[in-house]
Assembly symmetry: D2
Homo-oligomer: 479 residues x 4
């Protein structure tokens, strides 16, 4: 089972160009997942689905032809995050299946803690599994006769799920959109000019199709998009839950132009930057971001500190994430291919470098080295989130604890490892003070180890191995 | 649900080159299916699987690389028949799944009459379906807890299946091979020089890997290939079943070099030809086959009649079956691209043309026209099977009754339609007299309408439509 | 320089479907070359051209789209023979260039003996070369100002060429077709029902597009297809030349349905077979061809000898020539994948095996071995051409002298090498007696070493190396 | 003939990883051309070459395999600019040919004014042309016997060329690099740590392979890289030539991290921005660039004006230039897919938008519209180059005069067309004052119409048409 999935979702009901709009929306959500893309769509009676490996553009590149084989006016789409080694068409979504009530297609963003348990249970009851992702177990839950018999089968089944999830269910005649009671992953509601409702992981999808952002799907809410428009019900009592928004969405995942958890990503990142400037001031000549993830915070740092902002790094438009095989000794080259240093900006200067986060530290080290080679006099590293020290069980693909730079190093050791003149992480308190919601509303597990949803480590080694059914892709993935 | 499937199976246990041998065997069985190919293999502990659209050569063409990702020494393979419009990676086999007892991969040749009923029943019990083929329901049956609990779960589940089937089950530590109680499709057992047992749809697969044919899997027999060698048990009482071998395997499907139903295909086809010569003698100058399917019978006709055998048609090696889109007006061109007439063989001659069967009659008509254009003086059509008048429910992909040439035409009308000087089909009695087994052992439903396994027409329109879930291929199929 | 090229040509003038007809004709000529395919076409003013690696079907597979980018009503096409290691898009034809008189596209079948000399000469005059084939030098000759100034530049340049050639020149407003004074390679003229003239390497191309064969282009003739219809002139005095038709076209290259050198290929091959039967009679039970190249001769042998004809080998439709890498130790497998033995035909029998030729002898040896394994009691090898002992300089791709089986072995040694009970090659006299033209009309160099056009071995090692400019294909070739 | 080519060049002599370094350098020069990529390399004796359509990454993606078929230690590489409609493998470079002195591979960046004249002349002398680019004529000049006979053939031929050019010649034993006497396009010299000399269009290529920038190739200089190291000679007297560096390299083409014409691109762009701020001050709340081309100038504008810099647009990493077909009505969508507006940055604000240039104005209009939709209160457009009013004959691919926004519109009309509150272009004087060289050293033709090299409009309509030989690609280009 892929324990770590951050993906992108989109759905729209009642638009004659539903499929095309879904395609363009997936494109705008592409930063949330490049492994695979898919669209399931319905004409009100039957669902058609197409999924493939790679960018939305590649999957639907024959373009008009494939898109035209799909149906309007109802569609959902999915882009999937790529984790090395698990690229597999069988895990692409939406997942279209048939059960006793007919067809359903499901798209999922998040990570279920109890998926292995549920899977074992369902296998015990005679069910079979073809894929290694959480989504399949959700459909098994949906198809369970005792669930089908409930007044609100969907609401019922959602209560069986533990973990982080935003879910889109496409039935032939409607879309149902659900968000877990903790609201870990984002999901928001929009409306096109013509009045069609849509849902998306981030509001940037709405901007692309000129839809208007209405509001977020609330934690524990189940929203229906059908002929009658939009209707809503709560499937979980969230009174005693303060919420656990993944603040890493603000730090890294979401697009700067998006509204996520009810505030703009770029703006909160600028506040992060300003906060670090207050927490870790330094005398310097220039503030440069590691583009693009550090750009917003660097602007904030510059504005707060008064140190001029400049572009010490130029990012290449021609490198995919998988351009270089991840051998440790190729990392320096990978950095160079992705980021070019503008010598004139840093040579002989005291440079503040702002990045969103440091995970393993190896690529950061490469960037620092490149600045040194370009003649930077002093390098002051500033990071817009606290040191990552704990694994995430709700969908962020951090490496193992051993690989996390900050898991066993203090600031002095990190400073030495990175070869910087000073290191400054934003404090947890400082970071949370930048957000517009009360600090209790955010999940801080990766920094504190306090998991909002209890995590029993159910995944034993045998289970993990069993899930690795090596079904290869039909076609090799292009860089 | 694809009602019509004629496919090819191969399995081998205990060979260090199991995967490679399976690949070569699939190649030799390629005539049984060109839509997709797949291999599932095991190292004794875990199953790995790769499937793809198109010829085995295309699917595994990266060749050594993909093959080397699979495992030895246990493997099964499958080639799938292509029916227009249903090309779909999701239907490719072997189908690898997980259930309560671990992994299993299944490969299937045949057609289950009760698949829709079983599917409806299982959906009612909360099961979900991803594909539209019979194989998936078989795995659901296997995974059913009450079945799992039986002394011999496999034998138990097989008794739930109605119709034609040869099945290979690959478990991590063994292969199980089953053949339906009527023995409708062929399945035979071989042994390599080094002593590894193998099973295949036709013996030609054994020739390729220099294995020796041992015997057929018997109707109602379940054969196990594991570390202890080969063991066998009966899962069905076949005492009162005379057998229902699909004689169309002899007429058309099987390779001439194969032994099928315990006799050689080429030899029986020659006897068919001789029998037509006795039933429908004619004064003529030359006997020419429609290559390659009519070649064996034409030799038989020539030898019996004394009329010289010659090649009036030359078959192109460069045309796939799907070369030309099946528009009626392109058929003449399609015939010309596939078959070239040797004018000198037929010009001014009285020509006996021998083909294996006439289904729709349209391509036959095109061939006759080509002979006329080349100057044939008389054309006498001879067909080595009786007129096809009824649909097959056991796996042969005949068109609908309305499209069958002989369904509503008498010999005079057929003669006129084809524009031949005489027409002669082998008689049913004559055909059966050529076979080495008693005539009760063969299924003759497509000629007589007598179905050996009762066919309730369970497939209602709603069901059929539901099954057409248009999940497209990731990649367009090449010609 | 590829010294060995046997290719296929087609051209048509004044047909609204000229491009499509060229495509279908290339398909029917595909047996003459599978390395690359191309079409150049004109609307009367401008020439458009598309070439690619592989079968015509692959090159133009997008099909209608690519074809529709080409122009009507004038087109020429080319299929190129594949010699291992020289697959190169830059050598694909037709070759479209511009020179002082505008555009010209050239397609070539044959081999120029003096190409290296001409190339060296032209380079000395400041010309540059991009490809390694003969065709480019022909265009340089065409563009030479002193040639352009001649009354009939084409006729003039053709007199500079030594060797075997059939050439199609497409100018924007006409096609010119030439055949060398010895008539080594075939080229014939046809006419569609609507009256459009066409030219092709073999008449089988005409059959496909329902054109009628008119006559051969004569040795030393230059034929013009333009708005005025067909006109002809001689560019060489052929009075004292008896002709040197490559009889290997009859033996192996040409399609059985074609008329080549004014007689049908299948018929002459049958006569070859009958002649061997007379020269090398044997008591036997069955005559089997090595399909497909030996089929015609085997029929002739059977008819003459009275020994029954049967199919001891079945040829697979799914093997390309390049299926298996040419490692010596993989040849047995290659034989098995391509040819399946019908045991029942040969088991316990005295078998006459007829093939068209034996070159290296290695694959023949594999076939014999397969027959032995299938239980043949006696094997009598019969070959429908004399032992190949000398290289061809006119376009046939024989291996080096050292590799030719018969170059240094007598019949006894060959019999031993192949492990046959008897070996019988047709005699040269016998072979020539089967042809309809006087024996002086055929080239017999590969058997006798008597080269009709004097061969100065101009190609020194340096030259050869220089020609091997390893420009790789854009795309790997598919099997 | 493609009149407009801006390409990227790289060459290296004497490095065991010459091919690999060339590949990485092409990657860093990818912004100079995405149509095709190629590498020619030599082992000192023979040249091997591989070219293909698309990014370097695609062309060499099989990666190690293709690269390993090339040779070390000498290599040159080329990336080619894509102009719509002329994508054609036959135009890809380096162009490898043979002439009397052996092999040579040529890579070219620039545009020859007299290419059509030379081509006509050479055709008159009997030469043939296969491609439609300038590079081929250069090789004809090189191969001319009277040129070959000169003491310094290369120097001699370069004097025949008129226009803009940087050229790399790869001979089996050396690289020769030339730059036109006006120095229109950039070309610089570097040296690896191990001492191998290299040349590149921009210094960013050196950064990637950790080579050090030495100096520019001077206008009129011919530099030789061979076993003896680096040597130089002048092929043209440049005493009376002040130089004509294309300042558009600074404005748009070159990478910000590069040194071009002896100064850093990012720094000069910042000075451009500061200069506009002085020339066109405005009261505003925020300065936002159109990323990435306007980013440097926007930083300069912000720093000079004191108005805060912020990112009003976010650029997508997943859109190629050709993502959307260039239909006018799809432009708004294209803008949205490429650039996302951060509403919070511009809403209710007075926004200064800085871009590098405005050519047609249509995409700029789309960007302005997007800002308006996001709620910008005022929009002040600032452009870091003067209005483009004249075509470029030296390699920049501007549209026709009619399509240039500024060709027939005054500032008021442009302001209205773009729907901005104010418009401010940098003045020519102001722009030139930012450059470090005297203003006479730069070409300003596209703004002033003063062409440093006399342009006779030699290309008549007939010529242009002739050059459009539509030879299609072997494979369709992927997005």
């Amino acid at each position: 089972m892929d324990k770590k999935e951050n993906c992108g979702l989109f759905g729209i009901f009642g638009d004659d160009e539903a499929v095309e709009k879904t395609f363009f929306s997936l494109h705008s959500l592409q930063h949330r997942g490049q492994e695979s893309a898919g669209i399931a769509s319905s004409d009100g009676n039957t669902i058609a689905c197409h999924v493939g490996m790679g960018h939305a553009n590649r999957v639907f590149r024959g373009g008009r032809n494939v898109l035209s084989m799909l149906k309007n006016p109802i569609a959902i789409g999915h882009v999937r995050y790529s984790t090395a080694g698990s690229r597999n068409l069988i895990n692409a979504q939406p997942l279209l299946t048939e059960y006793s009530m007919g067809q359903v297609a499901v798209a999922h963003n998040g990570n279920l803690i109890n998926a292995p348990l549920l899977r074992d249970e369902y296998e015990a009851y005679g069910h079979i599994f073809k894929s290694t992702n959480d989504t399949e177990i959700i459909v098994h839950l949906l198809a369970k006769p005792t669930h089908v018999a409930k007044t609100d089968p969907l609401a019922h089944l959602l209560n069986h799920l533990q973990g982080a999830y935003c879910l889109l269910f496409l039935f032939p005649d409607r879309i149902e959109a659900a968000r877990d009671p903790y609201g870990i992953r984002p999901l928001c509601i929009g409306k096109t000019k013509a009045g069609a409702y849509c849902v998306a992981s981030e509001t940037c999808a709405f901007d692309t199709i000129e839809a208007e952002y209405i509001r977020d799907v609330e934690p524990g809410e189940l929203v229906t998009l059908d002929k009658k428009g939009l209707s809503s019900r709560k499937f979980a009592n969230t009174k005693n839950i303060s919420g656990a928004h993944c603040i890493f969405e603000h730090v890294y995942f979401a697009k700067q132009s998006s509204r996520v958890f009810e505030e703009n990503v770029h703006e909160i990142r600028k506040r992060f930057g300003a906060q670090i400037a207050r927490e870790h001031p330094v005398e310097a000549d220039v503030v440069t971001p590691v583009p693009d993830s550090g750009t917003s915070a660097a602007i904030g740092y510059s504005q707060e500190s008064g140190i001029p902002f400049d572009m010490g790094f130029i990012r290449s438009h021609y490198v995919g994430r998988t351009f270089i095989s991840p051998q440790q000794d190729a990392r320096d080259l990978a950095v160079k291919l992705k980021l070019a240093v503008v010598k004139e900006v840093v040579q002989g200067k005291r440079v503040v470098v702002v990045d969103d986060s440091i995970v393993r530290g190896t690529t950061t080290k490469g960037k620092i080295k490149a600045l040194r080679q370009a003649g930077a006099k002093e390098i002051h590293m500033r990071v817009s989130c606290p040191p990552v020290r704990f694994p995430c069980f709700y969908g962020v693909d951090f490496p193992t604890k051993e690989e996390l730079l900050a898991s066993d190093k203090d600031m002095k050791q990190i400073k030495k490892f990175l070869d910087v003149d000073s290191i400054g992480y934003i404090s947890l308190e400082g970071m949370l003070s930048c957000a517009s919601k009360p600090k209790e509303c955010y999940c801080t597990a990766c920094w504190t180890g306090n998991y909002p949803i209890p995590v029993k480590t159910v995944v034993n080694k045998f289970t993990m191995e069993r899930y690795h059914m090596p079904l290869f892709d039909d076609e090799p993935i292009q860089l």
